[in-house]
Amino acid sequence: MNKTRASGRTVGGLRTLALQAPAVTLLLLWMIVPLGMTLWFSFQYYNLLMPDMTGFAGVENYEYLLTDPALWAAMGNTLLLVGWVLAITVVGGTLLAVLFQQEFAGRGIARVLAISPFFVMPTVSALVWKNMMMHPSNGVLSWLFESVGLPALDWFSALPLTSIVIIVAWQWLPFALLILLTAMQSLDEDQVEAARMDGAGPIAIFFFITLPHLRRAISVVIMIEMIFLLTIFAEIFVTTSGGPGLATTNLAYLIYIRALLDFDVGTASAGGVIAIILANIVAIFLVRMVAKNLED
């Protein structure tokens, strides 16, 4: 027993390597191969509709993409979509976490109902909202608007991006709530009690104790949501198809149009590279934070 212990270091190292090898190899392939191909294609003339035109394109795909007004429209839409959904879900999620932390009758069931949208597949949430909620003549929202004397709204033509923001925020608010509620569990109740004894009101307690306590969890929520929100696709695919015009085309949808509808592999790949760079800027911060956490 002791003998193996003494030499355990190298033996353990070998065993560790062998046990990790399948997972590491597969992930390495999954990352390197498509990434390399995307990079390669982005510098090539490659259009499935024009098979004769091939070869090195230099930065032409990037030039073409960067001078295309559609790209800037898509970038703007991506930023608006991510920004608004983040604002709504983080502020809303924090307030709801505080609310659902209070004890009340049936709290368990209320919590479960409130986090449910997160488990609904994106195509279902998008279509339920598009049809049953936001339909201009038969939707529940129109009926509500009309019953208080407001004109019914044709959501997807009057406020297309807002409609997408509402749907996506509805899906991700429960995520923020779920994470922040979990983080709330470790809030030191004695500290809150002490503050209350010292005469701190609920608002002071929220700003000086709860919010600082949640700071880390909130940044985790922001970064994870950013990674997913940067590439929202299904919700747009089944509701507006990026329209009207380019009103709801985000970067992910633009790449999809270029690749699978226009068959322009080169330009789509250049778009892919841009999306990867954007996501990586966010990812660096998230990985750093998790790394710090790993040390504690």
Binding site: L17, P22, L96, S116, F119, M121, P122, L260
Partner: protein, 288 residues
């Protein structure tokens, strides 16, 4: 649900007790209103599934005569079962392979750590940051060339790799939380590595492995980027089937609702059961 809750201060007087009562009532009303508003679209969808197509587009009402005709229509006319089977095969298939590959890896990382373990873990996390749309073109072309487009195998491969980092991370945090003394004691009593794994490690970490598996099933079941782009009809799972209702011709809200209800019910229930463990997996252990 957790049992942790805020302890309320002992009431000091009758008026104090009264205002505490009032506060409690306000919070109850507020909490329930918020929960019901958020849940409403799901509730409405479930309700609409039991309506006729005419009733589905009529003015909103809670009073109607429920019917199962939409459920019947979805089953008989659109072949719902085939899509459901694809979803089940893809979600459970990818989860099986992800666990198979991840368990040895997470075991090694938690119990036989080396200097490189931390770096490997972080690198795995970083592969998850690669936006799927960035690699859509190459994956699509590879799949086209090797004949994996619109096959279950293709989707299983993509989902296995997509979820692998999360599965490794989550298992790692579970293995890491396991008391080392128990393994040590087993070793003292002369247990071999295999015995250690099968009689100590697996039984003790089974809850953790199960909830990791459930998270992987949930994520694969609801995935809609690859399923929409890589399948057409043969291997289309429920996410893609539901998307076919988006065609503008005609309104089939009752059928859409019935199909959607069936598609989300199993995952909704799984999600309710595993919400606490999900936080661990979704935040890579950064929030516990």
């Amino acid at each position: 649900m957790t049992t942790l809750g805020s302890k309320t201060a002992a009431p000091r007087s009758v008026t104090g007790w009264r205002s505490a009562q009032a506060k409690r009532a306000i919070i109850t009303v507020l909490g329930w209103s918020v929960a019901l508003v958020i849940f409403f679209p799901i509730f409405w969808m479930i309700l609409t599934g039991f309506k006729t197509e005419t009733a589905a587009i009529a003015d909103p009402t809670l009073i109607f005569s429920p019917t199962l005709e939409s459920y019947q229509a979805v089953h008989e006319r659109s072949g719902y079962a085939r899509f459901a089977l694809n979803s089940v095969a893809v979600a459970f298939g990818s989860t099986f392979f992800a666990l198979l590959i991840a368990i040895p890896c997470a075991y090694a990382m938690a119990f036989l750590p080396t200097k490189r373990t931390k770096g490997t873990l972080l690198w795995m996390l970083s592969t998850k940051m690669l936006p799927s749309v960035g690699v859509l073109v190459p994956i699509y072309l590879i799949f086209r060339d090797v004949g994996l487009l619109d096959t279950r195998t293709g989707l299983i491969i993509v989902y296995t790799l997509m979820n692998l980092p999360i599965v490794v991370w989550m298992l790692y945090t579970f293995f890491k939380d396991m008391p080392k003394d128990i393994l040590e004691a087993g070793r003292m009593d002369g247990a071999s590595t295999l015995q250690e794994v099968f009689f100590l490690l697996l039984p003790l970490t089974l809850p953790g492995i199960a909830s990791t598996g459930l998270l992987s099933v949930i994520l694969s079941w609801n995935e809609a980027f690859w399923s929409l782009n890589l399948t057409t009809s043969n291997a289309a799972p429920l996410t893609a089937y539901i998307a076919s209702f988006s065609s503008p011709e005609g309104l089939f809200w009752a059928k859409l609702s019935a199909a959607s209800t069936m598609a989300i019910a199993p995952i909704l229930i799984l999600g309710w059961m595993t919400q606490k463990q999900m936080v661990r997996g979704l935040t890579f252990g950064a929030v516990k």
